[in-house]
Every structure is written in C-alpha cells, then in structure tokens.
C-alpha cells in the first residue's frame, strides 16, 4: 500500500503563537520535522524533541588532546631531544620545568578545544563555503518563523487546522509525494 506524504510550511510572525501551535501539534501526536527562525528561540529544543547537543563534550576531548600534544612536544624538544641549561636552569627532567611549560600547555589546550569544536560545528551542520542555503523560505532569516512538517493525509489535515487556529500567518502545502512501501505483503510470502 502506498502512503501520501505532504510537506507543510506553517509561517508565523512571532515566536509566542508559534510555540503555542507547536505544543498543540505535539499534543495531537504530530512530529515537527524542523523549525527555521531568524534567531534562537529558547525552550524550542525540548518542545520539538531535539536532544541536547554533545558538542561541548567534543570540545573537552579536543582540549585534552591539545594538552597531551603540547606536553609530548615540549618533553621531546626540551627534555629528550636536546636538553639545554639556560641560565643555570637545566632541562634534565620534565617535572623540573613544569612551571615554565604551563603557559604553552594552556594555550595549546585552548587552541585545540576551540578549533576542534568549531570544525565539528561546521561539518556537523554542514556550514561550508559554497553550501546551498538550508532555509526553505527566504523570510526566515528576516522576521518569519517557519514550522516544517512532513506528514501523511490524516495528520496533514489536523496540522493545518491547528496551525491556522493558533495564529499562523500562512499555511502552505509546498509539496506532496507518494512513498512506495519497500516490501509488499505478497513478496514477503
């Protein structure tokens, strides 16, 4: 059996009615595929079921990597490869010199944490030079809030009513398409 799917854009001029509409959509079991907004809207993530990003954990790991790399580099260059005695302060052991190594260890930790995290962010969101604009409507970077839905016949009907009742300025069905089931009942027999 085939299913009809509909892509619906609910456009709002303000985040407050949009949040109300989203609450009602969720209450009637409708999944929100995405929301496009000109600025971050607080409380939206939990409402549409986006788990908290783990990018800060990545930053921590990159930071530890930077710390390790700096330690290894300074140990190799100053202690192992060519120990020096500068002004009566010899470099025979790493722990002798730890105070002098702290600034660069710190800088390297920050460097790797910040740049590693930034790169992860760019790649995870696919924000790269030449990438196509990801917003389906030009106005969402200006002053409009767009609720993006991808629903079947029954849900689409309810969603449109809920959106309109809660102050959506426009409700556009931008695309409909048919999903073929991967296996029919006959084939599996």
């Amino acid at each position: 059996m085939t299913t009809n799917k509909h892509i619906i854009h609910g456009i709002f001029g303000d985040e407050v009615p949009m949040m109300e509409a989203i609450k009602k959509l969720r209450a009637s079991g409708i999944r929100i595929k995405d929301v496009f907004s000109p600025m971050p809207v607080h409380g939206l993530d939990s409402l549409i079921g986006i788990p908290r990003t783990r990018i800060a954990i990545c930053a921590f790991i990159y930071g530890l990597t930077g710390l390790g790399l700096a330690t290894l580099m300074m140990w190799y260059m100053m202690i192992s490869d060519w120990p020096n005695d500068v002004g009566g302060k010899p470099n025979w052991q790493y722990y002798f010199n730890i105070p002098a190594f702290i600034p660069i260890t710190f800088e390297s930790t920050v460097f790797c944490a910040a740049h590693g995290m930034a790169l992860t962010y760019f790649l995870r969101c696919w924000l790269v030079p030449g990438a196509k604009a990801k917003n389906p409507d030009l106005r969402t970077t200006d002053d409009k809030f767009l609720v993006y839905l991808d629903l079947n016949d029954v849900q689409a009907k309810t969603a449109k009513i809920i959106l309109k009742e809660n102050g959506a300025e426009e409700v556009n069905q931008v695309k409909s398409y048919v999903v073929e089931p991967k296996y029919t009942l006959e084939e599996t027999h």
Partner: protein, 463 residues
C-alpha cells in the same frame, strides 16, 4: 521567555520590530556609502600605504632604520605591539566575559568590538614580526623541524609563550567572530538583490538556514567559546607582561605586572571601542541600538579599570621604595624626574586623572566628553608602554650603556601605517559586514525593546 524588570532602561530604543532591526542593520550594505566614508577610507588607505613603504624600507635595510639603539633595543616596535594587543582585549571581554555574565547590553556592540580585536591583533603582529630583524626567518619562531638538526625554540622563554598566546588568541577570536557572523550573512544573502552581492554573501554565509538544531548548536558553541576565550584573554596580556616581568631589569621585574597589564589592556580597549562606536552609531544612525546607556556602561568599565591601573602605578612606587633596592628606586625616580619625565606625567594625567572625570554622570553620558576622553585614554595608554619600555631602557645598570632615544620617521611611518590599516579594515568592515549582531539582538527585543516594555507596563497597569 526571558522577563525583565520594568524599571530597567530598554536596550533597544524606538518602536522596533524584527523587520525593522533587519532593515536598520542592512541599510549600510544595501545603500550607497556616504561621501564621508569615501573620504575617511581614502585617508586611512593613504596612511596604510605610507606604512607599507616604511615597512618595506625596514625589511630592505634592517631595523637600523629605527631609532632603537644599543641600550634602548626595544622602543616604538614593542610599545606599539603592546598597545595594539591591549586594545584588542576589549573585544573579547565584551563578547566572551559579558556573555558569561549574561550582560544583554553587549549585543549592541559585540560585533564591532570583536572586529576591532581582530584588526588590532593584526597591527600588533606586524611589529613583532618585524622587530626580529630578519622577518623572512620568522617561521623559526614555531617549533618546526628544520635543517639545523635539533634546533628547537626555548620553551622556557616568555617570548616563545607570547608567540603561542598571540597566535592562539588571534585564531580563536577570528573563529568566534566568524561563527557569530554566519547567521547575519545568511540574513543579508536572503535580502540583497544585486547578483554579485548575492554571490558574495552566499559564499560568506556557508549555507546558513537557521534550523532549530543549528541554533541549538550555535548557542552551545558560542557559550563554550566564550568560556575558552575568557581565560585566554587574561592569559594573553599576562604573558605579554611576562616578557618584561621575568627579566632582571629594574622597573620591569615586578609581580604586579600581569594583573596591571590586563586591567590596562581592558582600559585602553574600551576607550578604543568607544572612539569607534561613537563614530559608527553616528554615521550609520544606530542610536537605537548603541544607546547612551551603552556608552555609560562602557564608561563605568573605564572608571573601574582606570582606577585599577592608577592603584597599580601607586603600588609600583610604594614597592620600589619599600623594597630597599636602590636600582628599583632609581628606575621609578628616573621615570618621574628623568629626561623623559614628560612622558611619565602624560601617562599619569591621561590614565589616572582623566578617567576619574567619569564619576560625574553628566560627563559619562555626554557623547562629546566621552569621545574626547576615549582618545585621551588611548594616548595615555600608549605612553604607559613607552614609559615602561623606553624610559627604563635608557637607564639600566651600567651608566656606560645609558642612552637616550628618539624615533626616526620610519618608526613613526610604520605606526601611522598600522593606524591606517586598522582604520581601512574597520571602515570596510562597517560597510560590507553587519555591524551589529542582529540575530542576537532579536532575542532581546521582546524583553528589552522600548515599545515592547511600554506595552507590558500598560498591560500590568490594567491588572
């Protein structure tokens, strides 16, 4: 939604909505540049060009072209380096430290303050790269495998710490700034009509769409970057001060240097932000976003940091006397009464006395007074570095190495050139980039917009 007390002064003046914020921020980009912009940019570009000529001459004949001499081996180069690096600190302070403290007023000024940081660090880099004498060998500052066998830089040296600190600071500030710019470039891309503009801003916006997932990551990344930049900014100027403090030169060898340098950096940086902001808000008519209250808050930061600097000056004098070390005592006596005493008293006047005028509300809320005093503070902070470096090096331990100093026109030319470069870059930025973080600003419109606040007050009165 974030709620704010009714008695707080609004951060966005006038009757604005989301669309009007967009319009106001994009107007310098969409519209034609004013005549003043062309005149200013031309002057700055000419100064920049002059700087490039003096810089090329220095590379050609060596640092003998400068006024630096055998005793005074650091002079205008390092004075200018420390001055520019210090100016940069305000941008990071505004965007990172004020973000961590949830100071919403940062949103009107953080974008251009960060731009200022980046351009200032670029100017600073010119001096350190040039003062090595053979700038084509500057790559040897980094620990790269090389043709000389096991020849590594000395990781015990504060000069090398500085290389790492400044390069980390520059690249991290640049990334922090750019991540914030992406949503605003997206807004411009969706608004402009001219094909070349569309193409340029599409490329710059990296395909930003503003989806909920991206915003949630954006906020997390901004917060973590702020958390990383805050200790970074304190480390940078601390390490710059180590260049002096870890030496055994009287007048430099003091433990007070790191906090005193950081306070001085923030002090001069805020002064430079004010100088630029007062011009930008006038030219681009951004009075609704950079309000008198923003100016007042920045002036309060100037009082605080200026007073810290003043206390540090007095503490230095006290400790020199209390230490009983004659070399140390002479170094400070020489600063205040020696041949270059005029520079010491300019420093004292500009940095200790002038910011205290901001205790008067009339002065700290006056645009003209603020503009003049911000320039006075910047002059004072330049002289602070001049006093620390040149006055000290003129009179070191052995009287036979005593010397005097005067800059050559090449010294002055390179300095004027960096001011020109800074001005040119900032003017280009203000013309083609969004000067205010409009996406962030839209998040506080409901809670801190003037008309929005008024309507909630009326609403409350009805209850």
């Amino acid at each position: 939604m974030h709620a704010e007390s009714e008695i707080r002064i609004p951060l966005i003046l006038g009757n604005k909505n989301y669309r009007q914020i967009t319009d106001d921020i994009i107007s310098p980009i969409e519209g034609k540049a004013a005549k003043g912009w062309y005149i200013l940019t031309s002057i700055c570009a000419l100064c920049f060009l002059w700087g490039i000529l003096c810089l090329s001459y220095t590379i050609g004949v060596g640092v003998g072209a400068w006024g630096s001499n055998n005793g005074v081996d650091w002079a205008w180069d390092i004075t200018n380096f420390v001055w520019w690096i210090g100016i940069g600190h305000a941008g990071t302070l505004i965007s990172a430290v004020l973000l961590l403290f949830r100071q919403k007023w940062r949103m009107g000024i953080n974008r251009s303050a960060e731009a200022m940081t980046i351009f200032a660090v670029m100017c600073a880099a010119i001096f350190v790269l040039l003062h090595t004498g053979r700038p084509w060998l500057d790559y040897m500052l980094f620990p790269l495998p090389n043709q000389y066998g096991s020849l590594w830089p000395n990781f015990n040296s504060p000069l090398l710490w500085d290389v790492f600190a400044v390069s980390t600071y520059f690249t991290v500030s640049l990334v922090f700034w750019y991540i914030g710019l992406i949503p605003d470039f997206g807004m411009i891309r969706d608004r402009v009509i001219k094909p070349w503009q569309k193409k340029m801003y599409s490329l710059l916006s990296f395909g930003w769409g503003g989806s909920a997932r991206h915003w949630s990551r954006f906020e997390e990344v901004s917060l973590v970057l702020a958390g990383l930049s805050t200790p970074l900014v304190f480390s940078v100027h601390s390490i710059v001060s180590f260049d002096f403090a870890t030496s055994v030169v009287p007048g430099w060898h003091t433990t007070i240097f790191p906090p005193y340098f950081v306070a001085g950096a923030v002090f001069s940086g805020f002064a430079m932000v004010l100088t630029l902001m007062l011009v930008v808000r006038k030219i681009y008519r951004l009075e609704s976003y950079i309000t008198i209250m923003h100016i007042e808050y920045m002036n309060i930061v100037i009082i605080v940091t200026g007073s810290i600097v003043g206390v540090a000056y007095l503490t230095e004098l006290f400790v020199a006397w209390y230490s009983g070390v004659e070399w140390e005592q002479y170094a400070f006596l020489n600063r205040a009464t020696g041949p270059l005493a005029w520079s010491y008293w300019i420093m004292m006047g500009c940095n200790v006395v002038s910011p205290q005028l901001f205790w008067f509300k009339k002065i700290r809320t006056s645009i003209i007074a603020t503009f003049i005093l911000s320039i006075v503070v910047n002059i004072g902070m330049w002289f602070e570095r001049f006093v620390i470096i040149v006055t000290t090096l003129c009179r070191t331990y052995v009287p036979s190495s005593w010397n005097t100093y005067s800059p050559t026109f090449i010294d002055i030319g390179i300095f004027v050139g960096t001011i020109g470069m800074f001005g040119t870059f900032f003017l280009l930025f203000s013309r083609f980039f969004p000067v205010i973080a409009q996406a962030e600003l839209k998040t506080i419109l409901k809670s801190s917009g003037e008309s929005q606040k008024k309507s909630t007050q009326i609403h409350h009165a009805h209850h």
